[in-house]
Symmetry: D2
């Protein structure tokens, strides 16, 4: 609760047109991956158009704009980021012209050598309009294109220079290209609907336009569409993958399937693991809406303790919500979440949240539960303790602000004012995703950074 990732991407090639509209629906399904900016770029008779800016997909686009954009290829992007009216240029897709005509790029992830690459090229006379990794990537692709026989070859040359997380979509006048970093930090998959070919951050975006899931793009793989055909280059693929485990625990929509693993099942499994590790003699299991609900069901299945709704969440709280006068965090939580007294009054309650980052919100939630009459409160986090930062795009606070970096479990329990407190064991992480074709990055829980240990040292 409270962590943010950078983005979601969507791309479609459909010779029948209307690609902007399909992308609009695809981005709707990926909106949970970023709510600040969004954008769609299309190619229509070789001409590139783009509309982007702040706001939700549903606020930003109108029937009129979708009709203007149209297109037989499109890429789209949703983005999390601090809205800053003075730096609007960071919205994506990035659109530009280069030696071969038009180029559009959108990207989910974070490079760790971005500043270094930028500097290197600035020393050769490059200019940058934004602070996005996408622009660095676009520039390297444009440079690579000078010595490459095709756009996909240029992308291949370019990604060899990138270090970090990237799930990337690139659109040139005639080709639609997607590339995923060799570690596979962020998800990306391929779908089909009739002759149309789609690339998307999550499979739920394919479902939203009733497209069929074909397969995940493998870590390191580059795929592209040319004249309606799908091609692949796997020369950068490795076996040393590290999908962000937090995609399964929190970021992704539960109806997505990522690298073979159902997100929903992974959260059920996380709940089951908690039940095994923290057997509690309780009356009821509840989850913190929305992201703690599935793990709570998993705990219930494994433990046999009945699952019930513990809170009603106000579905109308939006970006323009005015905070309570004294800005007391307490009141704010109450407006968003209302406990169901019938569920918890006089009961011993197991309450599961997706994670505990700063602890501030959980203090208020536990208070609400006590005031609603809970006899005992046992708090479980379906993620392990956060102990370190992320270099690959997840917006984790500094150690100063991480609850688990500053207190022992017993101290945290006492601060929350609850009867027990537990976190998913980092050893259980593998167990929650038995179907995953990828290994995982769990560095924020273990400080075991995949790329750094192997490549850096």
């Amino acid at each position: 609760m409270g962590l943010n990732e950078e983005c979601g991407v969507f791309a479609i090639y459909d010779s029948n047109g209307n690609c902007a509209r399909s992308t609009y629906y695809g981005l709707y399904a990926l909106q949970h991956r970023g709510q600040e900016d969004c954008g769609i770029a299309t190619i229509n008779n070789l001409e590139l158009s783009c509309h982007k800016g702040t706001g939700l997909v549903g606020e930003r686009f109108s029937e009129h704009i979708l009709t203007e954009l149209n297109g037989t290829m499109a890429i789209g992007h949703v983005r999390y980021g601090s809205a800053n009216s003075l730096h609007l240029e960071n919205a994506q897709p990035l659109t530009l012209t280069y030696i071969k005509g038009s180029l559009a790029v959108a990207h989910n992830g974070k490079l760790i050598n971005s500043a270094e690459l930028k500097r290197e090229y600035e020393y050769k006379g490059a200019v940058f309009h934004t602070t996005t990794d996408s622009e660095v990537i676009a520039y390297i692709i444009a440079q690579a294109r000078l010595h490459s026989g095709s756009a996909e070859a240029a992308v291949n040359q370019a990604v060899k220079r990138l270090k970090g997380a990237y799930s990337l979509v690139v659109m040139s006048s005639r080709k639609l290209i997607a590339a995923r970093d060799p570690w596979g930090f962020r998800p990306m998959c391929i779908g089909r609907k009739g002759d149309a070919i789609i690339f998307a951050s999550e499979s739920c975006a394919l479902d939203s336009i009733e497209a069929t899931f074909v397969r995940d793009i493998d870590p390191g793989e580059i795929v592209w569409v040319e004249n309606g055909q799908l091609f692949s280059n796997r020369e950068n693929c490795t076996n040393d993958t590290s999908l962000c485990i937090f995609e399964l625990l929190y970021f992704a929509r539960p109806d997505s399937v990522i690298d073979g693993q159902s997100v929903y099942d992974a959260r059920i499994n996380a709940g089951k693991c908690l039940a095994k590790d923290y057997p509690i003699n309780a009356d009821v299991v509840i989850g913190v809406p929305d992201s703690g609900l599935v793990a709570a069901k998993g705990y219930s299945i494994e433990s046999g303790i009945p699952y019930n709704d513990g809170f009603i969440k106000n579905r109308y709280i939006g970006r323009t919500f005015i905070k309570p006068a004294q800005s007391t965090r307490e009141e704010e939580v109450k407006i968003k979440l209302n406990p169901l007294r019938a569920t918890v009054n006089g009961k011993s309650v197991v309450m599961i949240d997706d994670s505990i980052v700063r602890g501030t919100t959980m203090i208020q939630i536990a208070r609400l539960l006590r005031e609603a009459g809970a006899k005992e409160i046992h708090v479980l986090s379906s993620a392990p303790k956060f102990i370190s930062q992320c270099f690959f795009g997840t917006d984790i606070p500094t150690k100063d602000n991480l609850f688990a970096c500053n207190y022992t479990t017993e101290e945290m329990r006492s601060i929350l004012g609850v009867d027990s407190l537990g976190f998913l064991n980092t050893k259980s992480l593998a167990a929650i995703a038995p179907d995953s074709k990828c290994s995982f990055c769990d560095a924020c829980f273990t400080e075991n950074y995949p790329m750094l240990h192997s490549n850096e040292t």
Copy 2:
């Protein structure tokens, strides 16, 4: 799914001020009762101010407007209604001046003698600015005030002329008054927070500002606040009450308690009744989000068949959502609801929705379920069959458009393409609300109209 009621009301008296802000939070909690218009009127040093218009509470009000409104008394309103830029005057609260100064009125419900009353007064020279019942009521109160010793006495005189459903809040320069019709069609309750006194459509609005629930306003009761004290007049109270049963089944928020009955429990009970009436040998029970979920849990509890999430609902669909090109209802459903294949694939599924009105949406939902691999689909409605219109504010289609008016259950089952279909038995309605102090109006299911049979004929 798909029915609408007219409104929600909120009123607060707080000598410490900030009443606009409290009303803002209260309306947030009542937003599910109306999303088209909203408004807040306040009294500040005897002066009446009002801000109202189209949009959600969070869109309509800014920090600046709340500060301008301020006030030691306030009434607020959320409204469902077809947005029409040419008739904005229908937004509430209605504010006006009369012989005794300022008057503000907001109202949930529907009068059945409104046109008659309007006509009667027009023949005496009255003019009306809106088409709302609130204006008719306000006018009668102003007329009554000429011969009454107090505002509350005028309200009492006025309500004797009204026939139909009304949960009414009235604010004069010095008094805050609430009145509920003698049948109690729509809910309204009283809360306290320190010295502040609150009237609200549902108890969840009290919770949202951390106020304490005091009691329901009884059908027929008039209550008012004068100099910080709460008074009551019960002379219009009867024993012949008829709370709209659809408040419990669908309209109200599950965390509200109405006339003694927890809404959440009532929906659990509806699910249990379905389980008793329709025992099915199935693998899993699912609900249609959001309003079918609680009944599905009730079915699971009673039947022992496991409950699971069957769909993921897109939380970002707003009023500006652009419908699919061919406006095919099919695609629209898919964007809003995505089935969880893991839950239903190869399974025999019991799927519960809050009601089936036209049948069009359910046809699509059942299709999605089949496509996700469900082996058997058993559809149950936690409301009985809709067979007739509502005169008291629920927006039920004409018989031409009611599924159950045009087909037998077997025909409906066949049209939906499911394995079985069942509706809550009208005889079970009483059973779902054992704690209710009120009797119910179930005329839309039974054609047994409470007021009409007793008073009209």
Copy 3:
């Protein structure tokens, strides 16, 4: 410069439809009479629609709204007034239903017995939604209609109760009615375009839709359109007329002709009078844009001193203009008006403004002129000294704030820092409008209030 009047009205009957669109253009031409709110109400197949709100005509109405409004009759209104988001109801036209169906009213002017009438009717149970005179008038018309054989008869009965300034347009389901008060304080005229009949505050609105000016509505006259024919009732007409002289001096557009008098010519005449009363040995005559320019030309014609442009006015200053940081009035004037050095440098300059109310702006303008090198500055006001308030709709400051109420002419000259200062002589007022069929109200210059002296005392 800096005075405001209340409103402009426009009405059209055209069996060919598109009345909203014609009204839109008519209001565009009347925009100078009020820039805060605007609105259009139409009758279409007996049905009344209305769109109104804050903003300029061009901001408030869209193609879509005009098409929705359409109509075979329409009335429109532009309004000056302090924009207050908490009291939007004051925008006009006022629309309501009464015993005979729909009624819409819009009005320019100010009643002096409005509060009295309101009180009288409140004592009979009336309620008021706004603080406008229009609502009082509408209510009296509705009351009168109970005992009148027609809408126009009801208007006739109603206006007999009104005291003050009103140029009124009324639209019922089948009739379009206009009425002008017996003193004729505010202008109103009749036009035709094919079979269409138009009533408008000023003739420039007729020109804008290429309609033909037919005649002025006489003070006291009621005119109406029924089945496409124009009728008139003159029973309230008197010879004791008092058109606001400030309409000719400042309010009206120079291309309008009011009661026989060209506004442009009146201003030329005012300039000529000044030349006769204040012969100055100067090099050049300039005007303060825009409203002082015509009188400056008149001065030039009479005196033979060449006229030239003295200032360039910034045409882009709008309502959202951000004032200079220290809100120093000085800088603000400079942004709006830039002196033409070539015109004034080293010259003896006669500068004419339409009036001097508070003196604050003129202090700055004179300073700019000095800084641009003017050797001598002679300031003349084409209006006499303001010494008293207006009861009929002109927004004149209190005596505390009137320059001429607090200083002698010599003191004012010294404060302005100019070489001489003169005001139009009140005795010259008659001379500026030789073609006018009306006498004038000049009470703000003379304290000789037309209505009060005859009727009140």
Copy 4:
């Protein structure tokens, strides 16, 4: 009437801060040079911020944004261009990072070797985000900076590569630089206010913030501010200058002084030339507002025929104006311009407009004049006949659409339906600007393109 130029620029260095606010006022004064987009970029403690987008300066900027921008250096831009929501990136200033930190560029003019330069750099791997010349210039500056000792040296190196019209402002982290092309096509001048130093397209922008005009930037000159001191490099200056004559005739504000020539005087002189070349025995001289008014005064002075106002212009027509239904250009003109019958009825009229481009508007204006009773109409254009396109930024239609390219003067007169028609003689052009330190480009009237004849062939 109807021609557009590309832009206006403003730049300020003020160690006291508030540069965004000063630029806001400066752009207000330059708004006539472009009404589509606008933007301000500032440097504050070495950090670059920018706000830009569609709309007028007064619509685009708020108090809040100006405060956020603040800054001790700023550059601003107003732009004419077809508003296209899909290509917003073209708004200026352009902001980017390069080897030395931040860089912002804004530019008025048009390069003729832009495509060539772009292509050259794309072949070296460059990418472009916009279609503006500014980006090409920025890129060349960044490239030049690799081999230059300072930002101003890089600008100097860069401008040597540019061919065409540019009045350019450049802002790096520590320096504010302005450069004007060696031909001086577009104006730019230097001002001071206290210690602050300002560069602006026109001197009226200096006046608006009460800064003092210092001098024009010479054609070919580069000036810059470093640590509050002003420096100049004149190595690119030549004697072969060609200021756009249309700046004096139409584009610039009449209160500006450009290269020593008062714009107001130039227009007076144009009118005087017309009077000499076309002596007419008329009763009155009028101008088409606003841009024909000054020349009409000049004609009056020279001829002795009285000048008078012929039209009243509606000051409220904005970008959202809805065109008449049948989009008949006729009605549209009437709404914007209303003839003053008193001025023209029964008179022989000389009417002067700034230019006649397509002829369509003049046909309507002449019609209005005839309908207002003009006995004779003599139309004069204070610009010569347009016969050819402009390569340097003026938006002149193709020859197909130029009135004077398709008809003889006699034919044009007949089409306009007037009694005589005359254009300023190209030989008179020099005479209208006796004070100008620059020679002129009059290629659109003569096909004598300054740069092309000397450098190209």
